[in-house]
Amino acid sequence: MSTRFSVVSKPRPASGFPLTEIPGSTSGAISEKLVQDRYRSLSQSVSDAPKKESAATLEQKLFDALVNAKVSTSHVAMHLENEWRQRLFRQLDSLMAIEDWDASDAPLEGNSFSTFLRTILFLRPKRAPGLGMTSTGEIVAAWTRDQDRLTMEFGNADQVRWTLSRVDSGGRERAAGETYADRMEQVLAPYFPDRWFER
């Protein structure tokens, strides 16, 4: 049997990130405020990123995108395990290596990366995803366990497009949808995401 669901969240204003509670983060009002401050800082760092000169070389653009991504990560580093953060940096270095870059692709979009970080902080997966990118500069996270696949594409303004397929005794089940970073945990819950997120 094969079942498939497609879920699309209702649109909501793109301006400003909803800084709601982060599951698994340190509890308490002070900690919550700290997290919110960090997120504001993260958003600010992206919007303040220097505009790229049109004449900038591809190498410069990739370098700038890589640095911006690492700076953004450093702003929330206290919420990431050291091993997780170091692995992410290695993956980003690998992903944006100029020798493998398709010159027709856009460099990593800072806002897409912010959405990725926020989603990771909400989901807190113990197992890191494999990383990829779309031609338009959106980062992609992929978790694969045997035949079970979970893929997320991170847009600007907190949007996440996702698709999954999983196999159990009832056959293959597929689902896809579009939602927001702070909703991913609830959206994935019926599909037992620990199969992807646990080590």
């Binding site: 990829g132 992929a142 896809a176």
Partner: protein, 145 residues
């Protein structure tokens, strides 16, 4: 020139750059991502190379197709050559009520060029299905002779 539909039992190769490859957390390559099959704004069909257009035994046909891609595209050592069966591609699309056409459309550079037409521009679910169940054999360019 008449349009040649590529037979069901034949195969095509799609080149996917490093960023379009599905990897695990240690960068081991597992296949391709849906975006490897997503049409860009300027594209109306998905470009592939028809393996059986070349003569010889299957392995020679495959390697000749790879060589054609290398000659006609900018490829990197960590780019992936991903192979799909044409019939499987059509059948998977039909399960989603999408009727694609896979036709031989030679270009000035690539005589074995094949186009996948009528592929929805932005159906992530379908593209993921094709990435997972049609393009099932992906080999890094650097690992091929």
């Amino acid at each position: 020139m008449s349009v040649v539909n590529i037979p069901h039992e034949h195969h095509v190769i799609r080149y996917a750059s490093w960023t379009k490859l599905r990897k695990d957390e240690n960068d081991n390559v597992l296949g391709i991502l849906p975006d490897a099959l997503r049409l860009r704004e300027v594209e109306t069909s998905l470009s592939t190379t028809w393996i059986e257009w070349f003569d010889g035994p299957p392995q020679n046909q495959y390697l000749n197709a790879v060589e054609m891609i290398r000659r006609t595209m900018s490829v990197s050592p960590r780019g992936g050559m991903s192979k799909a069966n044409v019939g499987n591609l059509r059948e998977l699309c039909q399960t989603e009520n999408v009727s694609i056409r896979i036709v031989h459309e030679p270009t000035d550079e690539n005589d074995a060029h094949a186009s996948i037409r009528r592929l929805p521009r932005d159906n992530l679910d379908l593209l993921e299905l094709l990435a997972a169940e049609a393009f099932t054999e992906t080999i890094l360019n650097r690992d091929l002779p």
